[in-house]
Point group: C2
Chain length 135, copies 2
Amino acid sequence: MELESICFSSDCRSRGLFDQIADKWSAMVLAILSARPHRFNVIRRRLEGVSQKALTQCLRRLERNGLVNRRVISLSPVAVEYEITPLGRSLQKPLGALHQWTLDNLAEVDAARETFDDRQSDDAFGGVQVGNRTD
Amino acid sequence: MELESICFSSDCRSRGLFDQIADKWSAMVLAILSARPHRFNVIRRRLEGVSQKALTQCLRRLERNGLVNRRVISLSPVAVEYEITPLGRSLQKPLGALHQWTLDNLAEVDAARETFDDRQSDDAFGGVQVGNRTD
DNA sequence: CGGCATCCACAAAGATACTG
DNA sequence: CAGTATCTTTGTGGATGCCG
């Protein structure tokens, strides 16, 4: 299994990169941009729940890592467009596969969580309810 | 492109799940466990740089989401073994693909970062050095 | 419009110490 | 051995205000 080839040493630089690219906002932004370039506030609106700060940081990171390009279209009023790069497109597939996995296995994960949480409650006080997690 | 099927609404539950499963420690733990079950400190040692707290939390999360099983082998001295579940194995493939991507594209990302960082410095003070990022 | 700067609250990460 | 508890430090998210 190719997974065994993962490098575990603490100075393996792919660790840091993994952290930078594997987040849900990045995955969603790349998905949105895969169709065509978009402007900041359009992305912001489509990504219900993202703060402007979080989106700015996400786009900066994507830009710095070469996954999107930022283009100023016009000044006054300022218009900025973000477009996906070929490198960004290449990342889309694995990121999409991961997202697909969450979709396919949501139910099974939920079931596992219930089992786990029930077991925790029982362990804590033989049957006494302590309030269930809802996250 | 299947990526377009990503759900962007803020109540889409797959968002939260994405955040829970897409982290480097989880990917590495699953990779380690794919060969055979391992005990806590063995995993800890192979994952150079992970804190005991981070690993505990990671394993708890993996367990709660049904990706690994925790088995107490013996009491005094306490021995615990973690084994990957079928669900965990199914997650390994997409996670591994993501890791493979970081390996394949580290150089290209590095180049992009240099370009980006240089441009930032120039923008700030036409040529005056302000200290380069090293992260 | 597309940001950045600031402040605040809270969550997460680390280090250390202790336990069955 | 495999954690838990605690404390401290760092980071992140939200709200707000300002700018070109």
